[in-house]
């Protein structure tokens, strides 16, 4: 739980929460490795109809980071997404997911909540958070639309992937010192369906939202004059990073595809050796053993590919999506600056009404300073998060690769052993 006051985003004059960067999320390397291995098991357990472990203890390992190393566990809110269910109405078919929350936070009336949410609801939450915190980096949602049409949407793999991504989304919010305190987040986690619907209707109306949009568009057109250098640097970085992540995503998909095709061909080898053994006398045992070894290697390969699909690929994909968020955040910051600059210019030209305008400009200046600081703080947090996430993902991938090869090695060594044993039983044979 973050120390200090909860920042109210509606009052831009509040002190800049510069302790965001202070609450460095110190990720212990070993803990992270544990996170992923347990994470997998955890997620596998929460498939379509199994009941999952819901004890806080098991949730601890989900997405854990420590603010201070002395405190073992400061996380006080645990969210899981599971149990996708299909709903059919006259108009549409859609999927809802169970969202389970366990918390000790005082803002929550109860310590446990269970609600069902559909993708629309998650999307609503994301929009609200972005509205409330335009220069905070809200975690990415899995894609809204699927290109390939209806059939894909209800494909088991697709649902499973989306479910995991939604789970990640909520957990990243829960771990964010500011975002997790959002009222909308609380409502999302706790409200029953009708309550949520009614809550959604509140807040800035359609017209006021339109007004915001118009201003935003106008700002974009105007453009920013003097973007601070550090934000230029961030922009350049995001651009390049986006490209790299997209490549990594594509490459990983390609590797998975190639491995699957390799497996398909490999699967044909074992049966041929078995067939062959049927024609032989002396060679029956080695040939059968060969077939068995190849089958075992195939199973190992299948497991390995499964890991890549369900673990490495989603994290890479998430970071591809997050670059879109980053670009949006930078744009919003730019808009705030542009608005400020525009008013400033207006002041220079106007002679009358300068007092009211000056006050407005002061407000905008504060807003800009606050926006810049929150962005800088969250950017630093995002970077650390990115580094540790990807480092962990790549490290674990390397380990999985090693594991795969170690398994195959054991298989083939067992083959050699069986042949040598046979030989020594059978009599003299040169051991080369």
């Amino acid at each position: 739980m973050m120390s200090g006051t909860v920042v109210d985003s509606s009052s831009p004059t509040a002190a800049a929460p510069d302790d965001i960067s202070g609450s460095v999320l110190e990720l212990d390397e070993d803990e992270d490795l544990e996170v992923f291995s347990k994470d997998t098991n955890f997620m596998d357990g929460s498939s379509l109809n199994t009941s999952m472990q819901t004890s806080p203890g098991s949730m601890v390992n989900q997405y854990k980071f420590e603010e201070e190393e002395e405190q073992s566990d400061t996380k006080d809110i645990f969210v899981t997404v599971d149990n996708p269910e299909s709903h059919v109405t006259a108009i549409e078919t859609f999927i809802t997911y169970r969202v389970l929350t366990k918390t000790t936070r005082s803002e929550f009336d109860s310590s446990e909540y269970e609600v069902r949410r559909r993708y629309q609801d998650f999307f609503w939450l994301k929009c609200k958070l972005e509205e409330a915190h335009p220069t905070l980096i809200v975690p990415p949602l899995p894609e809204k639309f699927v290109m390939k049409g209806m059939v894909e949407r209800f494909n088991n793999d697709f649902i499973e992937t989306r479910k995991k991504a939604l789970h990640k989304f909520l957990n990243r919010i829960a771990d964010h010192p500011i975002l997790s305190c959002s009222e909308d987040f609380k409502v999302f986690l706790t409200a029953q369906a009708w309550e949520l619907a009614s809550h959604k209707k509140q807040g800035p109306g359609f017209l006021s939202r339109m007004g915001d949009t118009v201003r935003a568009v106008a700002a974009t057109v105007r453009g920013v004059r003097n973007r601070p250098e550090e934000f230029n640097a961030i922009q350049d970085y995001v651009e390049a990073f986006s490209q790299k992540m997209t490549s990594m995503d594509k490459i990983t998909q390609r590797i998975i595809k190639e491995q699957k095709e390799y497996l398909e061909e490999m699967k044909e080898c074992g049966p041929i050796y078995t067939l062959w053994s049927g024609s032989e006398e002396e060679l029956v045992e080695p040939l059968k053993m060969m077939a068995s070894c190849l089958d075992r290697c195939c199973r190992d390969s299948e497991e390995h590919t499964q890991y890549l699909s369900s673990n490495l690929l989603p994290i890479l994909h998430e970071y591809v999506l997050s670059t879109e968020t980053l670009k949006a955040v930078l744009r919003r910051r730019d808009n705030i600056q542009a608005e400020f600059e525009a008013k400033n210019e207006a002041l220079a030209t106007k002679k009358t009404d300068s007092e009211a305008l000056k006050e407005e400009i002061d407000k905008l200046e504060d807003k800009l300073e606050w926006a810049n600081n929150t962005l800088k703080g969250d950017w630093s947090r995002w970077q650390k998060s990115m580094r540790s996430d990807l480092k962990a993902a790549f490290t674990y991938t390397a380990e999985k690769n090693m594991e795969y090869y170690e398994k195959c090695l054991a298989v083939w060594e067992s083959f050699l052993l069986s042949q040598r044993t046979e030989a020594s039983e059978g009599g003299d044979r040169d051991e080369s």
Binding site: E29, Y237, A240, F241, K244, S247, M248, I251, R254, I255, E258, Q259, E261, Y262, E264, E265, M266, E268, C269, I272, Y273, L275, W276, S279, E280, E281, E282, L283, P286, L287, M290, C293, R387, L390, K391, F394, T395, A398, E399, N401, M402, Y404, Y405, E406, C408, L409, W412, E413, F415, L416, Q419
Partner: protein, 448 residues
């Protein structure tokens, strides 16, 4: 055994010739002076030892040559250097330079065809493939490709070593000359007259005929040969596809190398870790080339036995041919004996055109009948001789062929088991390399 006349005297002679002539070479000390000159040793090989025990043989190199072929067109071909050295000479401490000569693939083919014809009861070792088959797409199917040439060199050496270690084949003069006589070897081969035998053998082996009482063992062996051929072909086809796919998996990882490298340029803390991890990804991608080259060796071992099945089938066919000729001879003898009986007793037991016509157009005179009977008697005598000969040939063939088939079976079991073991060793090596690379990468990641 029934008696009948032989239908094909040429075949008989061939059998008789090959039966006696070549086997007589073993232990034959009647050598012409020129043959003596060509020998390293003055005494010929005793029955039972092989050339390989006295002589080191290798196919050391391959070279490209250009020249004019039979139709005066310019062609490029490869020649292989055969080196030989007496084993004793080396152990005497002198270590002299080996004798050597160059041979083309076509000359190897000529040698093999000669051996096939001359020793039909032997499962003659095969040559490496003429054209690259069962290749996966990155491996060249071009005969001039250096990797193909190299694998062929190894295959040709293997062929020579197998012949030189064969209890029967290794004692053949023509083989010996192939290894040692640079000039006019081709002429010497053609002088043996094997070409004519080759043609008739080819015709006979390709003819369709049905044998009433084949030796069960040969029929089983032929069936086994077919099964082995089928299963190895399937294996080679699948292996080629697997190799293709494996290549793809490894090479795509090279892209990780490229992206890591580019990515490291925009990172501070992660830069070094990414950069060095990228190098390991490149190394991983590159390692597949060696892996697949080793795998090719396994494929070559399988291919050798794929081609061996042809030789095995040929021996079984030869048995069938012998058996068929014996049965034909026996059948002919039976029918002649029947004719004699009919002629002698005047009864027609079976329908024959002669019988009918004589009934229609009147009986023959006693003198005519006597003459006929006499002819028949002679023919029957000859026929009985023929059947005896054929029977002996068949038995001899079966005896010799079965000895070689047993030898082949043992060799095959040994070799293929070794091949499977070496495949496993290769896989282990590949796994170890994989573990190493990813362990290195992991270390780099941990420094990110």
């Amino acid at each position: 055994m029934k008696c009948a006349c032989a239908t094909n005297y040429n075949t008989v002679r061939m059998m008789a010739d090959t039966g006696s002539e070549e086997i007589a070479v073993i232990g034959n000390t009647d050598l012409t002076p020129s043959e003596l000159e060509n020998n390293i040793k003055n005494t010929m090989v005793e029955k039972g030892t092989t050339l390989l025990k006295r002589m080191e043989i290798s196919v050391a190199e391959a070279e490209k040559r250009t020249g004019k072929n039979a139709v005066s067109m310019q062609e490029t071909y490869t020649v292989y250097l055969i080196e030989t050295r007496a084993v004793d000479a080396a152990s005497e401490g002198a270590n002299p330079a080996p004798d050597s000569l160059w041979r083309r693939y076509s000359e190897f083919e000529l040698l093999r065809n000669y051996l096939l014809v001359t020793y039909p009861f032997v499962v003659v070792p095969p040559l490496p493939e003429k054209r690259a088959e069962f290749v996966w797409h990155k491996l060249s199917a071009d005969n001039m490709d250096p990797d193909f040439v190299e694998r062929r060199r190894v295959g040709l050496e293997n062929f020579l070593l197998r012949v030189a270690s064969h209890p029967v084949l290794s004692n053949d003069n023509i083989f010996y000359s192939f290894l040692t006589q640079e000039q006019s070897w081709k002429e010497v081969v053609f002088e043996t007259g094997f070409q004519a035998k080759a043609d008739s053998r080819l015709k006979a082996l390709n003819a369709t005929f049905r044998v009433k009482n084949p030796d069960k063992r040969f029929a089983e062996m032929k069936h086994y040969g077919d099964e082995l051929q089928s299963v190895i072909s399937q294996l080679l086809r699948v292996r080629a596809r697997v190799a293709d796919r494996l290549y793809g998996v490894y090479k795509v990882h090279g892209n990780y190398g490229r992206v890591f490298s580019e990515w490291s340029a925009i990172e501070k803390e992660m830069g070094d870790g990414l950069q060095s991890a990228g190098h390991h990804m490149d190394a991983y991608a590159a390692s597949v080339d060696d892996i697949l080259e080793e795998e090719e060796h396994y494929a070559d071992q399988l291919k050798e036995y794929l081609f061996y099945t042809e030789a095995l089938r040929a021996v079984c066919r030869k048995h069938e041919l012998c058996q068929f000729e014996l049965e034909m001879a026996a059948q002919d003898l039976t029918s002649k004996k029947q004719q004699r009986e009919e002629l002698a007793t005047g009864t027609v037991r079976t329908f024959s055109l002669k019988g009918m016509t004589s009934k229609l157009f009147g009986q023959e005179t006693p003198e005519q009948r006597e003459a006929k009977l006499k002819t028949l008697e002679t023919q029957i005598e000859d026929g009985e001789e023929m059947v005896k000969e054929k029977n002996a040939e068949c038995e001899e063939f079966v005896k010799n062929a079965w000895v070689d088939i047993e030898r082949f079976k043992e060799q095959k079991d040994r070799d293929l088991k070794e091949a499977l073991i070496s495949y496993a060793i290769m896989q282990i090596s590949m796994c170890k390399k994989g573990i190493q690379v990813w362990s290195n990468a992991k270390e780099c990641f941990s420094k990110m």
